[in-house]
Subunit: 343 residues, 2 copies
């Protein structure tokens, strides 16, 4: 964590919510130093707490995706899966969720009902109870249909202790499946581009996959993250910075569907920066990596998991991608916000 | 709970977020049946859960107050105190909060910083740790500066078990202090009325008062609620309905500041419908009521607590107010939304 970071932008811009560099500056340069007592710990996807001697994990996210529904999902599912997944990659099994709505006056009740049903279905599918909620309404023009916030609490998965500081040179990097489906699906669903593709959001709970990995090689899991806003590149850049090591990716090994690759080429985007809502990254101790990958690939929904790279001493704090032509390039965090409001 | 309630309004309106009758119809007629498995339990301010054998309470609220700051407080404080108080009146001590922001692009960083500091200060004052958060940004015109959502988890206060079903005829009703300060302060702070008054929001954590009451007469506490949106009248109507008894209030005993009474008379509002952010109601077993009130009045910030009424067999499900002239009137839940976005 860059302690000396200072946020001096006079106004908030879309990029500050995009999950990339600008978001980091806002969080680490302004918000975290005010809110958190212990700035020495890297910010993870969920916080671990002791309540009356019982360990639990807690996480929260607001969802402002536009449009509300898209091929493969909608804001209701996203709000459940996003929070369940933040817990899963923090090695915790979601037990209960609470949900709040900020609704724009004039919203069709049919939309609210459909999204509430999507939320309930996704919770059932993820095996999590909805324990409570709150509803606020703001004037027409003061929200975009509806915003949803979920907070989840979970129980730690036994035998899995993750931290960027446990990552070592030689560790292997596993990715659970193809990247970019969610971000590109949202982009196309807005209909602002003259592009069509047979593509669906990958939104799903990754907990069953994380549990399969934990059963096969729990103690070998050093770190996990779901590469949502900012994509795989941003998640791994944060890891590289937090552990002070070099992340080497093998471009050919990273699964990207043709439709995603095509859209990215047309739009000048890198699939490594595109958001995912149903994938996760795991750094594995070298002796556990093969067994872990095998278990993941045998689990339902895990057949496209791949070993995509490894951790080395150098270059410190950097993500390098080896291309199919033998060269390599540095991949930075997401800069700017090419895809606003994707979750 | 009216099981047969059915929500058939085609669109969402401001009143659906006001905490009164329309909110109840939306929640009980549409949202709760879809989201919750156990519609047989009245909806409280927080949910009680067992996690790995440990009891905990969880609650969440979104805050959309307008304006963001006002005499006596601001959205940052409100977001902490509101959640701490929902836990307190559920007989739980807040231990950790998580917070999310939905920010409007163009928001001045100075406002975000001021509200984040207010949030941190309020958390410190309430003795609760901020454990994590999330930030989203939406386009200019898609939010009103900033919305804040907090979720809190707490540890149950030993020896206090509350439920509307334990409320009995003869029980006494205690109110912690003067009502209406918050709602009228917000109304005046908007500057749309040509009214001025020396009034401040009552936003504060009520936990110290709840703890004082619990220490003095924990087992005598049957029910608690913080009368926020919809005010004392709505909170007690919900209780009357949930316990099937009659609530009799003594109008002269209910503390209302002159400025609040004056503004309500001018505007045709009933102070019993105005929101509070630093008060709570407690129903006490008759033999515990005097000792509880005494303890409350001795606690810092509790000197204006009063016994305001009692529970009787009849009229079932109804709140009656005995006026200073000897008559009595039925006080219903809040209908409509005379004061939008007060929290």
């Amino acid at each position: 964590m860059t302690r000396s970071m200072r946020f001096s932008d006079p106004h908030i811009e879309m990029a500050h919510g995009a999950g990339g560099k600008a978001s980091r500056r806002l969080i680490e340069g302004l918000l975290a130093p005010i809110l958190f007592d212990k700035p020495s710990e890297p910010l993870g996807d969920a916080a671990l707490l002791l309540l009356n001697g019982t360990a639990l994990a807690i996480t929260t996210d607001s969802f402002v995706v536009k449009p509300l529904s898209f091929p493969g999902g909608s804001i209701g599912e996203l709000a459940v899966n996003g929070t369940v997944n933040d817990l899963a990659v923090s090695a915790a099994r979601a037990e209960a969720l609470v949900v709040t709505y900020v609704l724009e006056a004039g919203l069709a009740t049919a939309i609210l009902e459909a999204e509430t049903r999507a939320l309930a279905r996704a919770a059932k599918c993820a095996g999590v109870v909805i324990a409570g909620g709150d509803t606020k309404v703001v004037e027409y023009g003061k929200a975009d249909q509806m915003y949803v916030t979920t907070c989840g609490i979970g129980r730690p998965i036994d035998g899995v202790v993750i931290s960027p500081s446990s990552v070592c040179p030689g560790d292997k990097i596993i990715l659970s499946g193809p990247i970019g489906d969610h971000g590109i699906t949202i982009l196309l669903a807005r209909g602002e581009l003259d592009l069509e593709a047979d593509l669906r959001s990958d939104t799903r709970p990754v907990l069953p996959l994380v549990e399969a990995l934990a059963r096969a090689s729990g103690p070998g899991i050093r770190w996990m993250r779901d590469p949502t806003r900012g994509g795989v590149a941003t998640a791994l850049n944060e890891l590289a910075r937090d552990c002070g090591l070099g992340i080497h990716l093998n471009e050919e090994a990273i699964p990207v569907r043709d439709a995603v690759r095509g859209a990215c080429e047309l739009l000048g985007l890198d699939p490594l920066h595109i958001a995912n809502e149903g994938q996760f990254l795991a750094v594995m101790a070298p002796e556990s990596a093969d067994a872990g990958l095998e278990a993941l690939r045998r689990a339902p929904g895990g057949s496209e998991a791949r070993m995509i790279g490894e951790v080395r001493e150098r270059p410190q704090g950097t993500v390098l991608v080896g291309t199919r032509y033998g060269g390599s390039r540095v991949v930075d965090m997401l800069v700017g916000d090419p895809l606003p409001r994707i979750c």
